[in-house]
Amino acid sequence: MTALAQPWWIDSVRSRVYRALRPWLAHLYADRASRVLWLGVFSVVVAFTLTLVSPLWLLALGPVLLGVPHLVADARYLVVQPKLHERGALAWLVALPLLATGFGAPPAISLLCLVPAVLMARGSVARKVIALTAWAGLTALSLAWENPFLLVFLHAHNLVALGWWWALRPRTKQAFVLPVLVLACTGFLLAGGADPFLTALGAWAAPGSGTSFSEFIETAAPGLGATFGPRLVLSFAFLQSVHYAMWLRLVPEDARTRPAPRPFRATWDALVKDFGFPLLLVFIGLTAFIAFWGLEDLAGARWGYLRLAAFHGYLELAVGAFFLVERKRPAW
């Protein structure tokens, strides 16, 4: 007979909080679908509020603090839990173009990771032909207009996380609230609705963050004009935060076999089971390294992280294509 692991003290604290709040909040925790929905709405509201109040700090700190954990979630839910790394040569062939991305390969090379994902998926020839046609189209676009392609990819990949979360499980009608809310907030920001709020709150500058709207416009919205450029940067700040919330909060909640929330101790044990303790130590070390680098040079740490993370958008595309060809939900 194996003994159950002792819960941590923080689990006991959380249990007491749950019990105290049960009369008011029990219905919110009652089932997974409603819990995920309100967690999602809460995350979107927080992301939107922070975008209005302090967009530059959000852009500067988000990748430095949450970037590496979200890459770990990417690897966990896209590769490890579906056990794609155990599917023969598939993982290695997908990894090669991603490896080249880290060495400065152009996007046409990075997109090659879709080819083995599509060809090695167990699906109909028709679906593979459609997926390969889409790959060829994206490759042609990236060859013809490399910089505009990268710019669109940078912004659109934030929405891919929303699509991933949506595909995990069958959704109720109420679940439409979340994508509608995200699109409404994005539309509001792109239409300039946030501009007066930022002016009133003095949020156009963030002394100490080591960055400015000019810098983000030059990298994330170059040549789009003095009016639309900052609005696109605001929508990027918001969608990037939603992207992190999806991978770090909603996808884990939906991907778990157990429908109820689990103790922190059990969450840690599941992480150790998925990655192994030494690899987790590496991830924790890397997170701490980027964070401490950020204390020394925030802009430098953000750029360093972005170089590190360049591959993950293509990984999301490749695994998405894989599941589309296999006609399977990426839930397990």
Binding site: A75, V79, V80, H85, E86, A89, A91, W92, L93, A95, L96, P97, L98, L99, A100, T101, G102, F103, G104, A105, P106, A108, I109, L112, V115, P116, L119, M120, G192, D195, L198, T199, W204, A205, S212, F213, S214, I217, A226, T227, P230, F275, G276, P278, L279, V282, D297, A299, G300, W303, G304, R307, L308, F311
Partner: protein, 111 residues
């Protein structure tokens, strides 16, 4: 074990890339320092004066002249060439095709 090797392979260029990124730009450098342009040319950090929009007061921005270091290519630099990537890409596609469409051995029923 396979997972460990996979992570190590993907992590290698990531660490390798953090340093060249710093080298590639003129951030935290003095005028005259060596650098690499976005196109892959070897260059030198040169102080230039440009007019830059300032959004700290909101939109529309005000414009002010600022001095900054930019990486200007020198004659000795060599541009990034697509040719090696095209070669690697074609070799990769050939590898994927070979592994995906490899002929199967005779089955028991055929024998």
């Amino acid at each position: 074990m396979r997972l460990y090797v996979l992570v190590a392979v993907l992590a290698a260029p990531a660490f390798a890339d953090i340093i060249p990124e710093e080298v590639a730009t003129c951030r935290n450098k003095a005028a005259g320092a060596a650098c690499t342009t976005g196109e892959g040319h070897a260059g030198t950090c040169i102080e230039t004066s440009i007019t830059r929009p300032d959004y700290s007061g909101g939109v529309p921005p005000t414009y002010k002249a600022v001095k900054m270091l930019t990486c200007v290519a020198t004659a000795k630099g060599s541009a990034r060439s697509m040719l090696p990537w095209v070669g690697l890409g074609l070799a990769f596609l050939a590898l994927v095709a070979a592994l995906t469409f490899k002929p199967r051995g005779p089955t028991a029923s055929a024998a």
